[in-house]
Symmetry: C2
Subunit: 494 residues, 2 copies
C-alpha cells in the first residue's frame, strides 16, 4: 500500500506558524469559563456564583449594551426591501430609517443587499465614510482610499500580508499588545519588534523607547517596515496626547515607517482633558501629505457606541501608497470577493449618522450619549475598585473599554503558580474565575513579559468595563472578597 505517512495531518505536521502564536482573549480562560457555564447549566447551584461574567472579551452586546435603534432599523429594511413598499412599515420604522434604507438599496448591485459588491465595498458607502472623515477632520478623504472590511481584524491581516516579505521584515508593536498583532505577524512570517508602553507614564508612548527598539532591530538585521499604534489603547486604556501623537508622526516620517493606526476605540473616550485625534489629521495638520508619510487607519463598528462586533464591519483608510500598490491591495481583497454587506451598511451608518435636522437625530444622540456616559461611569467605578485593593494599582481608564490593573503578587503566590506551571497572572485569573465566575485575561496574554521587556515581572489582568452598571456594582464585592481571601492565603506564606 502506498499510504504516505508524511502527508497525514497531525498537530506535528501542520503549518508550524499556526502553532507558535496564542490568542488569550479567546483562549484558556475563555474555554474554562465555558466549561464552568455548561457545568452550571447541568447542575444549578454547583458554584458559589449565579453566572459567568465574561469580562475577558470586549463584546458589548453580549454584556447587555443595546444596539442603536436607527442602525438596526436600516439593516432590517435593507434585508427585506419589500418592506419599503408597504404602508404598515411606517408604523414600525422611523421615516429616517426608511429614507436611508431606500437610498442604500438604490446604490447596491441589482438593487439588492445579497450581491457581491465591489471588492473594496460599495462606492456610495465608501463615499459616506470618506465624507464623514473629511467633515470631522477638515482634511479631504477619498472613497478610493477607503476599503470596507469584515471588521478591523481582516484589515489588519491584509496589511500584514502586503507588508511582510520574510522574517527579516519587522513590525513595531506596543507591549502590552493586542495579541491579534503578534498572531498576524507570525502567521505572515514576519518578526514583531516590541516597544514598551510606560505604565508609570499613564501607559504613554515614549519615543526614545521606540527609537531604542527600532535601532536594536536594525542592528539585528531587520528591515522595520511599519509601526503599530493603538489609540485609545488596548489593553491599556490610555488616550495619547496631541503632543505625543505629533512626535509619533515625526518619528515615523523620519524613519520611513508606515503608520498602522489602530483607531477602533475612537468613540470611547471618557475623560474631559483628552480628545481623540485621527492620526491622518495630525499628520496633515503638521503639513505632511501622502508623499511625506504613509498611514493606514483601522476602524470598526465593533466598539464605540455601536458595539456591533458580530456584524463584522469596519474600514481602513490607506494614504501614501502608490497606485500600483493600491492595485495589489485590491487584488488581495478580491480573493475573498467582498466584505459582508450588513457590515458595509453599518460602517456607513456609523460614519454618516443622523444629522441635526433629521427626524431621528435627537433619539439617536440620546442613545449614543447614554452609552458613552454610562461607560465613563463604569470605567471610573471599576478602576477605583481595583485601586482600592491591597497590592493593586490601576491607571485611569481614559478610553477604550478595559481596566488593566497591576497586581503586586506575594512571593508565595508566584511560587504556587510556578508549581502549577502557570504564569502568576494566569494563576490569579483562574482562581478569580473559579471563585467568582468573573473571567478576565491575564496580562501575560498581551505578551507583556518578554525578553526585551523592562516590565518583566509585573503582573496584570485585563477586565472589560462593559457589564451593565448594576452588574459592575454586584461584581465589585465579589472581587473584593476574593482578592482579600487570595491575599490572606498567600501574604505571609513563604
Amino acid at each position: 500500500m502506498s499510504y504516505n505517512k508524511t502527508a497525514s495531518i497531525t498537530a506535528e505536521t501542520i503549518n508550524p506558524k499556526v502553532k507558535i502564536f496564542d490568542y488569550e482573549p479567546c483562549g484558556e480562560i475563555a474555554r474554562h469559563a465555558e466549561r464552568l457555564e455548561q457545568e452550571m447549566e447541568k447542575s444549578p447551584g454547583s458554584r458559589p456564583f449565579p453566572e459567568i461574567t465574561y469580562c475577558n472579551l470586549g463584546n458589548p452586546q453580549a454584556l447587555g449594551q443595546r444596539p442603536i435603534t436607527f442602525f438596526r432599523e436600516v439593516l432590517s429594511l435593507c434585508d427585506n426591501p419589500a418592506l419599503l413598499h408597504r404602508d404598515e412599515t411606517r408604523m414600525l420604522f422611523s421615516p429616517c430609517a426608511i429614507n436611508r434604507a431606500r437610498k442604500i438599496i438604490e446604490s447596491m448591485p441589482g438593487r439588492n443587499s445579497g450581491a457581491y459588491t465591489n471588492n473594496q465595498g460599495i462606492r456610495s458607502l465608501r463615499e459616506a465614510v470618506a465624507n464623514g472623515i473629511a467633515a470631522r477632520d477638515g482634511f479631504p478623504s477619498r472613497p478610493e482610499d477607503i476599503f470596507l472590511t469584515d471588521g478591523a481584524s481582516s484589515a489588519i491581516n491584509l496589511s500584514m500580508q502586503i507588508l511582510i516579505r520574510s522574517q527579516e521584515d519587522g513590525i513595531l508593536c506596543p507591549l502590552p499588545e493586542y495579541p491579534l498583532y503578534s498572531a498576524s505577524i507570525i502567521l505572515h512570517g514576519g518578526t514583531m519588534v516590541p516597544y514598551n508602553l510606560s505604565e508609570d507614564g499613564d501607559w504613554g508612548l515614549e519615543i526614545f523607547e521606540v527609537k531604542r527598539c527600532l535601532e536594536e532591530a536594525r542592528i539585528a538585521g531587520l528591515t522595520v517596515r511599519a509601526m503599530v499604534i493603538i489609540n485609545p489603547g488596548n489593553p491599556t486604556g490610555q488616550v495619547l496626547s496631541i503632543t505625543n501623537q505629533e512626535e509619533i508622526v515625526e518619528f515615523c516620517r523620519k524613519e520611513g515607517l508606515v503608520m498602522l493606526a489602530d483607531e477602533v476605540y475612537q468613540d470611547n473616550v471618557y475623560v474631559e482633558d483628552k480628545k481623540f485625534h485621527y492620526f491622518k489629521k495630525v499628520a496633515r495638520s503638521l503639513g505632511y501629505d501622502e508623499n511625506d508619510i504613509s498611514i493606514v487607519s483601522f476602524h470598526s463598528v465593533s466598539m464605540g457606541f455601536s458595539g456591533e462586533c458580530g456584524r463584522r464591519g469596519g474600514y481602513m483608510e490607506i494614504c501614501g501608497f502608490g497606485d500600483d500598490v493600491m492595485g495589489e491591495i485590491r487584488k488581495v481583497a478580491s480573493v475573498t470577493l467582498c466584505p459582508n454587506t450588513s457590515g458595509q451598511i453599518l460602517t456607513s451608518l456609523a460614519m454618516d449618522p443622523p444629522k441635526l435636522g433629521d427626524g431621528c437625530f435627537e433619539d439617536f444622540m440620546a442613545e449614543k450619549e447614554d452609552i458613552r456616559l454610562s461607560l465613563a461611569k463604569r470605567a471610573k467605578t471599576l478602576a477605583s475598585a481595583f485601586s482600592s485593593l491591597e497590592g493593586m494599582t490601576c491607571n485611569k481608564v481614559e478610553g477604550a473599554i478595559y481596566a488593566f490593573p497591576r497586581i503586586h503578587l506575594p512571593a508565595a503566590a508566584i511560587k504556587a503558580a510556578k508549581a502549577e506551571g502557570m504564569s502568576p497572572d494566569m494563576f490569579y485569573a483562574c482562581r478569580l474565575l473559579n471563585a467568582t465566575g468573573i473571567a478576565v485575561v491575564p496580562g501575560s496574554g498581551f505578551h507583556q513579559v518578554s525578553g526585551r521587556n523592562k516590565a518583566t515581572g509585573t503582573w496584570h489582568i485585563r477586565c472589560t468595563i462593559l457589564p451593565g452598571e448594576d452588574k459592575i456594582k454586584a461584581m465589585i464585592p465579589r472581587l473584593k472578597e476574593f482578592h482579600e481571601s487570595f491575599m490572606n492565603e498567600f501574604r505571609n506564606r513563604s
Copy 2:
C-alpha cells in the same frame, strides 16, 4: 536625515507573493467593463449596446435573481428583534419567519445579533447545519466539526493556512481551476500541483491523470498534502458520477491525501441523469470513517437557490483531523474573532429550511423550484447557443452556473492577439465586451494554459448562465452577430 528608503512601500517592496497571483474574474475584463459602464453613464448612446451584462462573475442577485422570501424575513427580524414584540409585524412577516427568528435570537449571546459569537459560529446554528447534513445523507454530522465562515473563500484560505508549511508542500488542484485556489496556495507559500480535467470526457476527472501528476510532484520532491475537487465544477459545469467519486475517495485514502471538497454548487444540478453526492457521504458509504480519510467540505450561501453572495455565509465540515489539530484551527479562527452573524443565520436557514407541514413550506419550495428550473433552462439555451457558433464547442452545463465553451480560433486571430500582447482568449473576450457589452472571463484566467497542461493551445471563455431568461434571449443574437463578424475578420486572413 535617517529616512530609510528600503522600508518605503512600493510595488517593488511589497510581499512578492502578492504580486505573483492573478484573479481574473475580478480582474482586467471586470475593470474594463466598469470603465465602459462609467463612460456610458456620462455619454449615453456612446456604445452600440444598452448596458453591460456582467457574465464574468457568478453573482446571482446582481443579475436579477430574487432572494428567498423566508430567508430575508428571518434576517430582517433578527436585525431588529424589537419587531418580534409588535402586533403589526404579523401583517408584514410570515408566522414561520417570526417563529424561526425568535428561536435564533434566543440562542444568540446576549439574545442579540450584534455580539461576537463563538469563533466557530453559534452552536445552535451549527447544530442546524449538522442536522441538515445528517438528515440528507443518512450519516452522522457533529456541530463540533462545523465551522461557520464568511463564505467559502475564507474557509479555503484557512485550510491552506493550516496545511501549507513551505514551498515543498503541494496541493493537487484541477485545471481549469477556480483561481481562488492558486491565489490562496501562492499567498500561503505552497506549490500548486495541477491535474487536467478531460474536456473530451465531459470535463470528468481521470484518476490516472491525477496519479501521474501526484507522482511527478513527488519525484520533484514535493509532499503533496491534499487534493482539491470542485463538484459540480467551476468553471467547467460537470457533475461527477458516483463511480468517479468513489474512485477519488479510494485514491485519496490510499495516497494519504486530505480531500478538499468544494461543494458550493451542490444545489445547482440541472440534468436528470446526474445527482449531487456529498463526498463525506460517498466515503462513509464505502465504509471509511474518519480514521481512514480526512475530508474538508466547503459550502456557502452564495450560490444554489439562495444566491446570497454579498452576505458572506458558509461553512466547512472537517472530518478526520485529530482533536489537537481542531484546537489549532479554532485558534486561527479566533484571530478574526467570528464569522458575521447574518451569514451564520443564512447558512443555518439554507441547511435547515422550512419543512413539509410548516406554514411557509409551499411558498418556499415554489420559489426554490422556480429558480432551479429557470437556471436549468438558461443552462441549456446558452450551451446550445455557444455550440451553434462556428468553431465553438460547448459541453453540457450539468451543474454550477457557468458555460465554458471552447473556441477554435483562426490563426490570424491568435496572431493578432499576440501582436497586442494578449492571450487569444483574452483578445476574444475584450472584442466581445467592446462590441456587445457582454463581460466573460477568458479560459486562461482559470490557468488552463500551463507547462504541464496537455490542453495547451485550447481557448475558452467562461460565461455565467445567471442573466434572466429575457436577458439571455436578448444576449444570444448579439453574441452571434459579434462572433460572425469576428470570424469574418480573421477566418481567411493570414
